[in-house]
């Protein structure tokens, strides 16, 4: 609660997801990153809108970033991918159904700009309207 007030979290969803959601995420998605590639459990990853989803991202070698982008280039959220022994987790609730891209948000060597997976996530509407 104190953390919530200090971080002004009611104003922005990103902190709300980090601090408020006490319940277990409805879905866990594990993504491995290694040798400049995202290894996704399925392509596209299908995720329902409106429910908390946890992304668990592990690097096999270097520092990377994990960023989810809308089709118009706007960033939805991101986190750093710290290499082992660390596991990087983030909870997100997608509001809008549609396709989302994944891009590495941290430099990891000259091949970094090519770490881009278009249409990697497919968010489907909870009413089945997508």
């Amino acid at each position: 609660m104190i953390g919530n007030i200090l971080m002004l979290s009611p104003l922005l969803p990103s902190a709300r997801y980090a601090f408020w959601i006490g319940e277990k995420p409805a879905l866990n998605i594990t993504i491995e990153v290694g040798n400049y590639e995202f290894i996704l459990p399925e392509k596209p990853i299908t995720v329902p809108a409106g429910v908390p989803v946890e992304f668990v991202v592990r690097s096999a070698d270097l520092v990377y970033g994990f960023g989810v982008f809308r089709k118009d280039g706007l960033m939805v959220f991101q986190m750093q991918v710290v290499p082992p022994p660390y596991v990087n987790r983030i909870i997100w609730v997608f509001d809008e159904p549609g396709y989302y891209d994944i891009r590495s948000t941290e430099y990891s060597g000259p091949r970094h700009p090519y770490m881009y997976v278009p249409d990697a996530i497919h968010v489907v509407g909870s009413e089945g309207n997508e």
Binding site: S14, M79, Q80, N88, Y107, P113
Partner: protein, 526 residues
Amino acid sequence: MNDEERKILSIRFVVFSLIFLALAGIEGLLMRFRILNILTEFFDEKHFYSMMTAHPFVGVYGWAYMAVMGAFYFLVPYILKKDIYSKRAAYASFWLVLIGVLTVWTTTFITHYAPLYTLYWPIPTAYNIIGWDIHSILFFGLGVTLILGGVLVFFANMFATIFLPPRHTDGASPGAWHVMTELLVTAFNLDKIKAKIKKTPEYTAKAFNYPVFVIAVFRGCVDTTLNAFVIGGVGLLLTTFAFSHIIPGAAIPITAVDPLIYKNVFWWGLDLIADGNVLIFTAGTWYLLVPLVLNRKLYGEAVVRTVILADLVVSLFVWNHHMLADTPQPIVLQIQGQIFTWGELVTMGLTIFVVLATIWFARPVRYNAPLRFILASITGYAVGGLAGIIQANYASNRFFHNTQWVIGIHGHIQLLVGLSLTIFAAIYALFPLLTGKTLDERLASLHLILWTVGGLVMGLSMGLAGTLGMLRRTLYPMGLGPYGPYMFYATVGALMLALGFIVFLVNILKTVKITDLLKIIFSSKY
């Protein structure tokens, strides 16, 4: 060192710092074109990122540090009316930083080694995955060690100059330990705290014996010394790592270093440049130049001494604002980083207020070049500082981290419009003292307008692209998409900056002959 020798040393530092600024500017412009996917034939990704690695080292250590070192080697003895403690150390610091920056630049230029200034473990050392040459790690590490070694020699010389009696005045001169204790006691007002505990009546803190500018110098030097130990330590670590991999059977494994602990130590050290060099040194320069130009006492001097102290303490606890996107980082540190960062905004705000109040109470004021440059510099700090507080938030960092926002509207406006304009103000103010000649005021105005507008256009365009999700440190080989127009305007801003710099050079070369300048630079045997 006599007065003349100090002038030669300062001019030498400033001339080389300007050469490095030009170099950083050329790199910046080339990178701007490459981001627009122009010049792709000329340089590939490896070349681009090696340039991006050299750019901050040349810009920060080559330009900002060397200019500051040159100015302080002249100003501190001038204000305290006492000589630099060691002439040899002064020249050693010049050569170490110069050779260090050149080593870093040459290594990245020749080998295309590109760990970027962030040096996140294990990127600088993962040569077998990324494909660096092992020798490039060795030379790069050596270059970084030399730069920070030079910086440490400079600070030790500054501390000794401020806290020790002049050399050769008596046989038993107090040594390094005396300087260290005197420094820590004075820098953190420990004597005042002790007096309070002991209830000594009417005790005046030692810091009050020094002019405000000198306080800013030694308190800023505390930050930058700690920074030099950390970043110099990283340089040494890279050198040792490379050596161990060249000698058969001695290889240090990459896993020997914990990437998250390393990142914490690295940012703790690196952020101290932002506080020591960019904030406290700048504040000190304003506190010196504004009263000097207006011939008036600084407004609220007693408060200012406390503000500088507060800034020093705050600066030791803010590093986590660089790690808000690292989810394995303990949440306590995330909260601490965010809250202490607010403290920086308060101290910066007070600094700006004090300077503006001094000018206000000195009305009517003739706005000469140094004063106009300082006012524009304040604008840079206001814009860059506000952008900083927006991104240094745990929640907003989810979409600001590593975007063009951070490096454009915060980083580059703070460094180009904020810090660089203060350095230029100091150059305009010191020029008559160092050379006996005054620079042209009209050309100075043109320089100011081009540089300020160019810096703001570039920084704001980058920042706006950042709000749309454009990342820093990323090329978009498949096309810039919605970010394209912003990168075009950023390039226009960069060209204005370049033009402003050319006007400044014309002004200097119109006032002093280049042959005279070269004569001054080479007139010392060191």
